[in-house]
Symmetry: D2
Subunit: 396 residues, 4 copies
């Protein structure tokens, strides 16, 4: 008889085998400079163009074996020849992932993009996505990720309803241009950069637009984009039940959209999210859920921060895989509140780090990816090499 | 030229004429005792049965002319002859409104009702709604209001997904029993009484269940049932756009589900909500939106508290009706951020109390309903009459 | 070289030796019935009087060796002979801890107790504390714990300032009656049962009153009594720095004052709190910090819930003790953001359950206290024995 | 007999006379460009240097008669000859107000300024304040305003306690340099730019440092710097009771530190804050409370936004002055919950705009300051004149 007070979950290689097959997509922009509205601190050796960003991203995969794709952000990552960029990535062992559009940096978008009252500006925003779709074709990417920063700051500033109608129309125009194997991944966000209304503030709004668009539209859940206290794993379960969970933007937060390293603020929440994923088998590649990072390493080293993030997700996934779902269901159906809870807590309390290091070793990966990266001298090398030019940031 | 800094909105009787036609439904349970988990304070003269609750409720309509219906709560308001209760209400000038089911006070429901793992308990909860539907038939009520208190307190305690599936099945069984002119009004709540997951925590979940059920299922928006910072008027606009806003439970709050007098905590928010309502014409009776109060007068006099609440809603509605929608749309489309905002603020800042008192006078209602009620001696009378017996509360 | 990615903290018996000396005080009211404003569910075998509550509490100490004291709540735990109650507790291996006053259940306190506008009611509330001080003398308790539920529900209802002045005066009258080795432990709470203002809503207000009273007044930090997002460990560090952290009320929450099992909602937060405690050596008995539980086991078995809670605190303490403070300070002073963070995360990720079980075994305690308690048959026995009478709850 | 349902508060010129004497300080940085971390949108005619900022600020005073001082921010507003800048301001009818230091934009401050582990960096931050004190002497300013952006992003990154100790030492070094008629105004902020701990996150921490420093240190309350749901007027009352409310930074917010126009998000909250101020007579100049704006006009015209903000504060002040404090106290002491509440609501519901316009007219100010400013052609003129150069923003 166990009570979850003692370790009772065997940490077998088998139990963790799905971890080895799991991949997390990393964002090109995590390697450039980021910050708050108060200050962007720069770091030595920062990449100056998409090529260098991909080189940095490839380091994450090299040491973890779990970050095989890199998301691009347009126009920040615009290059003349995307085919060549894709080939360059593959040479470094990674692939191009989702293409992210940008609706927040053009002066025309001050009062909205896909929702703007002026049809010409909406059309410009739609056209930007057609460019992104072209880049998808050139890179082999299948996911068009749309985060809509549109909203209003003052009550009365614009019509909530009219903006929804314009948004629906703009999204439909984009959707119509997708290839059959393309998806729109539609993100929602509680607030920021708008401070009164966001035009897609919650999963319900995102899902309604996806349902109206069709089966190729899916919801993106960014873990930092919710009201205080929101139960995120509930939303995960609900979107999986609807067959519309397209992707995660992983990060963590204490307050707002803090964009900290995933798992650094509330590792138990990350575990609970992964548990819902595992319960539905959605951690497997065929689920179509794209697990991505979206973080800002404002004050910590960026590549190392990304490696740590990937490992945090793997660790949470490993713990979630330890749960004996059959026994759990039995306890749940018997109404054993504490017994069922303790099964989950037991898995969370179990230290899977050594087992995951063993697994990496078997895959010819370093046991300690952070230490291996730090020992590699990569950072010193790029600091020396990347002389001149302009470091990339959110603006470039 | 106006800037919203000076009063610029003419407060004409015409502008406010829709207020006279507006009705708010009051809950039978607002007149009984309520409190927090720490203490229920009693008040002299409290009603002891549904008849006395309806008598109290009728006072609200008598002095405001704006509270023509009373919601019942089953089993609290169970009587032998509902036909007679309905007739009694009509004698007092009011009608029976929505029938509210109770899923939180039976010992069997400790771990859930419509979502319980045990099919026998789910069946019992479904059967309770069939009784409610019978009461609807007996009273002429058209709305079956369901607030689901189900949820879990601990991670792992039960399966989020399984509970959704069971809920869908239970709701479908209830829906199948509705008459063609009946509606299910399905409420959501962020938290309490459950503290880890609620099974219908947000408007998205409620709406998905309504969509699955069919056109006779609509969402109830209780203004106190959201995460901190949630933009409620956005949800109002979204549900109206989907044609699924069935009802409001009005109240106000500073922290959680405080159930204070509507408009007492954030009158500007109430105004913004009513503004979205008015923008779509949803304040008119044919919109099908049932505007209800759901409050707890823990420390203030209850009938007076209800009168004040009704007047607060009317006042907010009156201000919302003052907005010149055409001029506002023009400013919005021109991108005049402050100009459009100031039009809204101008209406909010305008004092409509005298005009509404004039309107009441024309309708042979007291100019000051609170003062008239206090002067009527009703409270003293019931304090004297209601001797013996047990005052009604949430438990009876 | 370590990066916190791999287990690097040796879990030696020595490192954890302070855990064996650590004691947590349990509340008498945790064994009685509790619930929400919607419903109090009862559980079979619930205690009917203070003697049975202490018997239940003694079980927690018997199986964990870490719960040597029981807090009383007056009037719920009023007995004729407190000396005999104390002796009874000692026979069962535990002692009487803090005496908690009750300012929320007398009808006179509807609008306040120590802050009431009516001096007679304030005097009554002060007098209640003099009774509590007598009970302290009779039981040998040294801590008078005051949680002030006073506040207002509506803006304007009362003067914020006047209530502070009255509170200061009332507290001074109580403080004047303390014996030299007595303490006042003054709790704060963000909201509930009042919904507009609480008269002691935050640590700052509690501390100001303590400073005005004198050195025998200390702040109580209830982990559930803060605004969303509040960094609790910062407050712990601040109160320790001021020498005014008198006690903890441990529990956990996702939303408001949910009063769940400590460590069940955010175990990492609990660890961070204990880390601040350990950093200042405040986990040792001579620090004067009284570590107490204050929870509601609404739907789970109560004694088992308490055992689990105690173990959760011990586990968090054990992990906190693993941190190499010297190495951490070095990394911090070197500005190694991720390195320092990873040292903390390494300790948190380490599974100390087996080591703590070993420690218990050495102390002749069961390795798995929950399993041992369940196997003991205690619960079946009290279910059989406690026939008739009225189960204790918050109201009795 | 009145119930607050009807207008009952006479809006006499006398009641509002204190409004005419009230002054609000405006920040030089409100006229430059601001934005979010995503984008800073520029506006035509933006000022390029401190002289132009002061010229813009003087417009606010010119049309409202209520904004007689301008806060400076160093280094953004550094000029060669501060005496000349002060004289220039006086020529335009305004004076230099508080001097704001900047601790967030130097690369050295990435991990802290006054709290940095490196004493050399702390010393640099202290020295920056000595420069500010010199500027105070040159401009006649009496207030040194310190907002500390220091904090950490990750648990373990630095010692909470050590940072408090370093902060106390740094502040003492600055305090020692003040002239006898100088004040330190010490601001607190819940979060941002740091996302795990802020070193002064709440009023309690700010007050403790002020108490340690001495009587010339006072707390700044920025209305946007609190956890969700915080009762700000309670803090106002508490700081007034302690004699330590030094200043306000007015703005408004729905979510985080949104920095919107004061009174645009929750005008009733602004009224409640002013009511606490008026209750203690703290709106009068001799109270020493410096009422300042601190806002970001990201998408709306800046000068017009400032004018509107000033008027919003005046309007709230006017309403607060209408409350009959004696009658209110009587109702409060009688325990008339709704009666007392309704007195406050009556004042809030009263439209004081016409009376305030009358008052302005008597003072030879425009009835409608926004309309008068817009009609003045000032904005067109500066758009034409301010050609070339670099518009000022947060970074310059």
């Amino acid at each position: 008889m166990t009570s979850g007070i003692l370790p009772s979950t065997p940490v077998t290689p088998d139990a963790l085998s799905d971890v080895a097959a799991f991949g997390i997509e990393v964002p090109s922009w995590a390697y450039g400079n980021s910050g708050t509205r108060f200050k962007v601190f720069t770091q030595p050796g920062g990449p100056r163009d998409p090529w260098e960003k991909i080189a940095d991203a490839a380091q994450v995969h090299r040491y973890t074996g779990a970050a095989p794709r890199v998301s691009l952000h347009i126009p920040w990552d615009r290059v003349e020849d995307f085919g060549r960029l894709g080939a360059y990535a593959e040479d470094l062992g990674v692939r191009i992932g989702a293409i992210n559009s940008n609706l927040f940096q053009d002066d025309d978008y001050m009062l909205g993009s896909l929702t703007h009252a002026n049809p010409a500006i909406r059309q410009k925003a739609v056209a930007h996505h057609l460019e992104c779709i072209e880049i998808m074709r050139a890179t082999g990417s299948k996911d068009l990720k749309i985060w809509l920063p549109d909203g209003t700051n003052y009550a009365g500033q614009d019509s909530i309803r009219a903006r929804q109608d314009r948004l629906a129309e703009s999204l439909a125009a984009i959707y119509a241009e997708l290839d059959p194997d393309h998806r729109i991944l539609l993100e929602y966000k509680f607030f920021e950069p708008a401070f009164y209304t966001m035009d897609i503030p919650d999963w319900g709004t995102s899902l309604l637009h996806c349902l109206a668009l069709g089966p190729q539209a899916q919801v993106v859940l960014d873990t930092g984009h919710h009201a205080p206290g929101t139960n995120i794993e509930f939303i995960v379960a609900q979107l999986l039940r609807q067959g519309r969970l397209g992707a995660f933007d992983f990060n963590s937060r204490f307050y707002a959209d803090d964009d900290l390293i995933v798992g650094s603020a509330d590792p138990f929440q990350l575990f609970r999210i992964l548990f819902e994923i595992v319960s539905e088998g959605a951690h497997r590649a065929d689920s179509g859920v794209n697990f991505m990072l979206d973080q800002c390493h404002n004050i910590e080293p960026k590549i190392q921060g990304q490696i740590r993030s990937v490992l945090n997700v793997l660790e949470a996934l490993g713990k979630a895989l330890l749960v004996d779902q059959r026994a759990l269901t039995e306890a749940q159906e018997a109404g054993d509140v504490l017994g069922a809870h303790e099964m989950l807590m037991d898995a969370f309390a179990t230290d899977v780090r050594t087992a995951l290091a063993d697994q990496r070793e078997e895959r010819a990966l370093p046991r300690d990816p952070v230490a291996a990266f730090k020992a590699s001298g990569y950072l010193d090398r790029v600091v020396a090499e990347r002389v001149g030019g302009q470091q990339a940031g959110w603006g470039a």
